[in-house]
Symmetry: C2
Subunit: 70 residues, 2 copies
DNA sequence: GGCGTGGTTATGATATATCATAACTTAATT
DNA sequence: AATTAAGTTATGATATATCATAACCACGCC
């Protein structure tokens, strides 16, 4: 798997869990004080989030970070 | 849990899995072409690795990234 | 003692994650 | 048609992850 593919897959997982939690991208960003441009880029695999960013997102949507990597 | 605590915990997990795989910090860095200063900082919670860095480390020691977050 | 290996810490350079803002599309709604 | 909300994309600024290198400590070994 290429790095691009990995990031795309990770982003899809995040978006999937976010939608399952019935929160919009804007909702999540409001909670964690993040720009929606960033979260959009992460969910679309255009950006390589840090572990702390993943943690904040996971907390905001009520899942474990580990879920994003399964 | 504070951000510092989170990073420390994550780093400990990484170090733990690395040692379980019987690889030194130097070994892993050689495989993934990373500076040992970086991996040391990550394992000690002084640095906030990106998802791709975590993926490379996980691959090098033969575990899933998800393991680092359990 | 001296030497090599694993690991830590410090410093300066470069790459990139995130911030801040704006413009835009699409879809839903009134 | 106009408006509103969600999401995308672009741009420039700032913060920080990583690179590159050096110095250092602790340990086992010769």
């Amino acid at each position: 798997m290429t790095e691009k593919e990995f990031l795309k897959k990770l982003g899809k997982k995040i978006a999937q869990h976010r939608k399952a939690s019935n929160k919009t991208l804007v909702d999540v960003c409001a909670v964690i004080d993040m720009e929606k441009t960033n979260l959009s880029a992460i969910e679309n695999g255009r950006q390589n989030a840090t572990s702390l960013t993943l943690k904040k997102i996971a907390d905001a949507i009520g899942v474990e970070v580990a879920e994003f990597f399964k």
